[in-house]
């Protein structure tokens, strides 16, 4: 997982409430055997004019010109600005996979659905909750300023605007530690590698038949 310290990135707006995980990544893509490569199908149903299927060449599909992410001014965005209850619906982890694969590092919204919120941290994405009025202001700023960028300083838990305004946000200390150090659940467990090895050494004495016999 990529460590997250400070990110200064272009902001793209997603101006609708209750964006569910099926909208983030439609169910036909769940049959995939992969966890990478979902980026081109992020928001598939609103992003393209035809119906997406796994295995299609997405570069040949007709784009919806009205969809924000298709506008050249938002190309390469790393911060998604969203509305309330983002990520509701099915618990599919494919949703954060798709957002991350697309290139997003952080999502700002007035609220998030629970499971989605948790799944973000596991996949190196930072979900940031800001008050409604601040989110409104940011939507205005993004609309009126081409190339609008925000700086997200996780260490100090601040979202900093180009004008120099700084908004504080909350994040669980443990999750923050994991993100800053690029630790997913596995990385975290591997911090206990010595304890695991010590356990194995002891168990190998006690129950040797459990070790080393499937080859």
């Amino acid at each position: 997982m990529k460590p997250f310290t400070t990110v200064t990135g272009l902001v793209a707006p997603m101006d609708r409430s209750n964006v569910d995980t099926d909208m983030i990544i439609p169910k036909q893509f769940l049959k995939s055997i992969k966890r990478s490569g979902f980026g081109p199908n992020l928001f598939d149903e609103v992003r393209y004019l035809d119906e997406g299927q796994p295995g299609m060449d997405n570069s040949k599909r007709p784009l919806n010109p009205d969809f924000e992410l298709n506008k050249p001014r938002y190309a390469g965005a790393q911060v998604l600005l969203a509305r309330k209850n983002f990520g509701c619906g099915s618990s599919r982890e494919h949703a954060p996979w798709a957002l991350e694969d697309y290139g997003f590092r952080a999502i700002i919204a007035p609220s998030f659905a629970d499971i989605f919120y948790n799944n973000c941290f596991k996949n190196g994405l930072l979900p940031i909750v800001l008050a409604d009025d601040i989110v409104d202001r940011l939507f205005d700023a993004v609309a009126s300023t081409e190339g609008y960028k925000l700086t997200i300083d996780l260490e100090n838990q601040k979202v900093v605007t180009p004008e120099g305004d700084a908004f504080d946000f909350e994040v669980n200390a443990f999750r923050k530690h994991c993100l800053i150090n690029g630790l997913d659940d596995i990385g975290l467990t591997l911090q206990d590698a010595d304890a695991i090895r010590a356990y194995e050494t002891r168990r190998e004495q006690e129950t040797p038949w459990v070790f080393g016999h499937i080859r």
Partner: protein, 477 residues
């Protein structure tokens, strides 16, 4: 100090470290893999540049969507007709090769349903912690081990660290006391248990199945019971080790040998709940109350004895339950108060990780012998749980008995248990099935599943409707 339950012992023996939040890092001794839940876990490793922590602990085999049709199987992996299935099976092969994981590939004689293969090979042993990306991993608890299903991100976690972060479950014991009547099998016992405690009865618990009736069961029978612990809401079910357990593993390919065997067996004998251990919940049932079970609804708790009737919603007091019954009867196309024996079958499926072991096939063959499948039954199939079960059955001539009666004799796999391959029910069709789930659509869109034992399924195939296997045996004698 109070004694320990079997679950306490298994938990304590595998605890690597404890965390402040009450979770613990638990060491995993054996990890089974199949084609459906492993691809993203392997890819996760690859993306993070990680390697499996240990290789000698993993064993993989494709089972969920391999074809059970001989001709299609013989065409190899490239010949799998369904594209998604083919990609998943190929991906498992590729991942196992790339990472060095031992695999019994599709046409290997040792291939089969992962929960049949593990014990059969002695790859899963008493006292182990055993996980697999599949909820019926509880099967392996039958041998006195801690076995439970996990999700794909946990599969990756186990591959990378050989551990899982877990919270301890509560202890529950279900005792079935007394002797089982002739014709009553492990499947009837577990369906009866679920009918009594409900599908949420075991939620949050690790269940130990005990009592004289349980102990009288063979290892195969105990596996059938533990297999369905998950249908009772419990992630793990287990049976204490006794001489039946130890006898079963003697000479299995991956089981210890010689002096090591003796050491292992001594350790395994300690895997019982202490006399003074306390359980958070205890249920006692009488074996004498159990008759052959048939599920009539769309949840495994919707069962009745074969001599009984489909329930009448107007007799159900609780409003929610009544609605559930009404909906189930509608989906199943059954009438209130209809005798169970009057339910007619379109298809019969003998197989799945619940009932596809040699003992199951023997029981079914004994019923079928000398009879023919009823003309009203469109299809009756037997799908052995593994290549070795199939080989053994053929050596005993069971395949010939099934074929002579009009059954199809298939290649090993999950098959019609979950309808991920071509084996499925048509809309509205009734199936007597030895599998474990009768959810709506489980065996095919609109399909109607009745869970039963292998002997009951076999008899239903012959008669075209359910019959009481207890009278059958008398008649055949």
């Amino acid at each position: 100090m109070a004694g320990k339950t079997l679950y306490d012992k298994l938990w304590d023996a595998h605890k690597v470290s404890e965390r402040e939040d009450g979770t613990a890092l638990i060491y995993i001794d054996r990890h089974l893999l199949h084609e459906v839940t492993s691809p993203q876990a392997f890819e996760g490793l690859r993306l993070a540049g990680r390697k499996p922590w240990r290789l000698d602990t993993n064993l993989a085999t494709p089972d969920h969507n391999v074809s059970t049709d001989l001709a299609e199987r013989q065409a190899g992996v490239a010949g799998i007709r369904d594209e998604i299935s083919r990609i998943q099976v190929t991906t498992l092969d590729d991942n196992c090769t790339a990472f060095g994981v031992r695999e019994f590939s599709m046409n290997d004689i040792n291939q089969g349903i992962v929960h049949v293969v593990g014990p059969e090979q002695g790859a899963t042993l008493p006292g182990m912690t055993i996980v697999c990306g599949d909820s019926h991993t509880s099967t392996h608890g039958a041998m006195g081990s801690l076995a439970f299903g996990i999700g794909t991100s946990e599969v990756e976690h186990v591959l990378a660290t050989q551990c899982l972060i877990q919270r301890k479950m509560k202890n529950m014991r279900i005792r079935v006391e007394g002797d089982l009547a002739p014709g009553i099998t492990a499947k009837d016992v577990v369906l009866y248990i679920i009918g009594q405690i409900g599908t949420a009865g075991g939620t949050g618990y690790a269940i130990e199945f005990a009592g004289s009736a349980l102990q009288s069961l063979s290892m195969e029978g105990r596996m059938t019971v533990c297999n369905m612990a998950i249908e009772a809401g419990a992630r793990a079910g287990m049976v204490a080790v006794d001489e039946t357990t130890i006898e079963y593993f003697k000479g299995r390919p991956f089981a210890p040998k010689g002096e090591m065997w003796d050491r292992a067996a001594d350790y395994w004998r300690t895997l019982v709940s202490d006399e003074d251990a306390t359980f958070d919940k205890e249920v006692v049932l009488q074996a004498a109350d159990i008759e052959p079970q048939v599920s009539w609804g769309t949840s495994p708790e919707m069962v009745a004895g074969v001599s009984g009737k489909v329930p009448n919603p107007s007799n159900v007091a609780d409003e929610d339950s009544r609605k559930g019954v009404v909906r189930a009867l509608e989906y199943m196309g059954l009438q209130a108060d209809q005798p169970i024996e009057s339910i007619r079958l379109d298809r019969v499926f003998i197989g799945s990780c619940t009932n596809s072991r040699i003992e199951d096939l023997r029981a079914a063959a004994a019923v079928v012998k000398g009879h023919s499948v009823a003309s009203s039954v469109k299809q009756a199939m037997v799908v052995p749980g593994s290549g070795l079960v199939k080989q053994q059955a053929e050596a005993e001539g069971l395949d010939a008995i099934f074929r002579a009666a009009g059954f199809q004799w298939r290649e090993p796999g999950c098959s019609m248990c979950l309808a991920m391959n071509a084996d499925k029910l048509g809309q509205g069709e009734h199936c007597a099935s030895t599998s474990n789930r009768n959810f709506e659509g489980r065996q095919g869109f609109g399909g109607r599943t009745h869970l039963v034992s292998p002997a009951m399924a076999a008899a239903a195939a012959i008669k075209g409707h359910f019959v009481d296997i207890r009278t059958w045996q008398e008649g055949a004698a």
